[in-house]
């Protein structure tokens, strides 16, 4: 049911862990639903993601999308990173089973929350609006 790439990211997840003194941290999901993802980022002075790490409680898809998103954004500008959608992550993995698309595919949202966290912490609320049009608004997901 999972593509080889999903299994690869699940079995050998990239960038696992937590950045100490991270510039931004985003967490999404709910243990009751079976998926929690936390992404921490280090941002350099050119607004680039210098480092990114994740921790995830969840199924194979949850781990793989988390791992994939860290790989996709490493070294990217915040603006580019903000453009990455959950859908794009799933596509980069060669697709996910239909029943995994909704709940376990939230890694991009966690990333966006980490970016928002960074921007807010640095007094750049204005950029939040600009970068993150489709920001997850503590989605329905978290409470269902």
């Amino acid at each position: 049911m999972y593509t080889d790439l999903v299994m690869d990211h699940f079995t050998n997840p990239r960038n696992v862990g937590e950045i100490e003194d991270a510039d931004g941290v985003g967490q999404i999901g709910n243990p009751v639903c079976g998926d929690v993802m936390r992404i921490s980022i280090a941002v350099d002075d050119k607004d680039r993601i210098a480092d990114v790490k994740f921790k995830t409680f969840g199924c194979g898809a949850a781990v793989a999308t988390s791992s994939m998103v860290t790989e996709m954004v490493m070294g990217k500008s915040l603006e580019e990173a903000a453009d990455i959608s959950n859908k794009a992550v799933a596509e980069a993995l060669g697709g996910l089973p239909p029943n995994k698309m909704h709940c376990s595919n939230l890694a991009a949202d966690a990333l966006h929350l980490a970016i928002q966290d960074y921007l807010v912490k640095n007094g750049r609320e204005a950029d939040v609006e600009q970068f993150l049009k489709a920001l997850p608004k503590e989605r329905e997901h978290s409470s269902h």
Partner: protein, 385 residues
């Protein structure tokens, strides 16, 4: 890589003796049992011989055995067939039934039947008082499974059947997980209807049976040529039926040897996991459980991720019931035991079978703790680093 199959509650390999018995019925003795010519008569004889085998193991009469396409069909036939004649009334099922009973009960509910779901205690045993009190004047049927497929708990079926009869209701038990693993005698149990499935007892997939106690009024759910004493139409799956007969006989013969052996492996495995891994909750009743079932919940990690990592190490287990819906909901069985949803997500089921060895159990106990450790390190919920 050597692989270890620890998922016998999901399905079992067909026993060599079973397959050998089936083989002639595919391409040589391929007759339709309803035909009167030689091949037809020989097929009929094979079907009836298998029926006698199934009946003998259950302590039933031959006329009390209806062959179906599996456990799900048996369960559906018991519930829909047992209730078809009556006006919608009241139905009792346990809270930990397999979806085959649960969803049939829900479908009946949509057709106007009132349904009560009886809770279980923390060990997964049905609350007999709640059960008894649930009966109403219009209760037509109670269905409580013999042994649970997720947490392995074995129910007091004989007592539950007796209560149902005192209240004037039919009693059905889904014995799909029990038949072949535990002694099951319909006379001692006193049940009216009992479901079993071939592929759970080293028989083939796609064949099952429903025991229908003499005198029980039942309507078919599959209509047609009137096979199986009009209770289940459709050309008989002769190789499957022959296989089920041999599987039943073989399982019954091996039970006295296999059962204590599996219980020992089961207890060693459960103890080993509890010893080696902190914050593990074992699930189901400590002793009143299926011989091969070990079930537990591991905090801070999710079941599927454990399962997939174990698979990568060659160990095949289940994160709960095999449910084709691909639901992400935690098992309703584990929740019924009182676990919080976040912990229910970390549940795992190991189901041992005949061919498993102590070495395999030892190998598992070696492989599993580092996997849990790695996943916990990855978990944002795991606080102690």
């Amino acid at each position: 890589m050597k692989t270890v199959y620890f998922d016998h509650a999901a399905t079992t390999p067909v026993d060599r003796r079973v397959l050998d018995a089936m083989l002639p019925y595919f391409s040589e003795q391929y007759g339709n049992p309803s035909e009167l010519h030689r091949l037809g008569r020989e097929a009929r004889a094979a079907v009836e011989a298998a029926r006698a085998q199934v009946a003998a193991v259950l302590g039933a009469g031959e006329k009390e055995i209806v062959f179906t396409a599996g456990g799900t069909e048996s369960d559906n036939l018991a519930l829909f067939g047992g209730l078809a004649r009556s006006q919608p009334g009241h139905l009792i099922v346990s809270a930990i039934e397999h979806p085959a009973v649960m969803e049939a009960a829900r479908a009946l509910n949509r057709q106007g039947w009132a349904v009560d779901f009886i809770p279980v205690d923390g060990d997964g045993i049905v609350d007999v008082d709640a059960y008894e009190q649930a009966f109403r004047d219009d209760t037509r049927l109670a269905s409580v499974m013999f042994a649970n497929n997720v947490v392995g708990s074995v129910q007091p079926v004989a007592a539950l059947a007796r209560i149902a009869h005192e209240k004037g209701a039919l009693f059905h038990t889904d014995a799909v997980q029990a038949v072949g693993s535990l002694p099951v005698d319909v006379g001692e149990l006193g049940v009216d209807l009992l479901s079993l499935s071939g592929h759970k007892l080293y028989g083939p997939k796609g064949i099952g049976a429903l025991y229908v106690k003499r005198g029980t009024r039942l309507q078919p759910i599959l209509h047609g040529g009137g096979h199986e004493r009009r209770l289940r139409s459709g050309t008989e799956n002769v190789p499957g039926i022959v296989g089920l007969g041999v599987a039943m006989t073989t399982a019954a013969a091996q039970l006295p040897e296999v059962r204590p052996r599996l219980e020992r492996l089961r207890d060693k495995l459960a103890a080993g996991v509890a010893e080696r891994i902190p914050e593990v909750t074992s699930l189901g009743h400590p002793t009143q459980r299926l011989p091969g079932n070990v079930a537990f919940s591991v905090r801070y990690v999710e079941g599927e991720s454990m399962l997939l990592r174990l698979d990568a190490h060659g160990f095949m287990v289940s994160s709960g019931s095999a449910c084709a819906s691909g639901s992400l909901e935690p098992s309703h069985v584990v929740l019924a035991l009182g676990l919080r949803a976040e912990d229910a997500h970390g549940s795992m089921r190991i189901s041992l079978g005949r061919e498993n060895t102590e070495e395999e159990v030892d190998a598992f106990l070696e492989a599993f703790p580092p996997i849990v450790d790695k996943l916990r390190q990855m978990s944002p919920l795991y606080v102690k680093g």
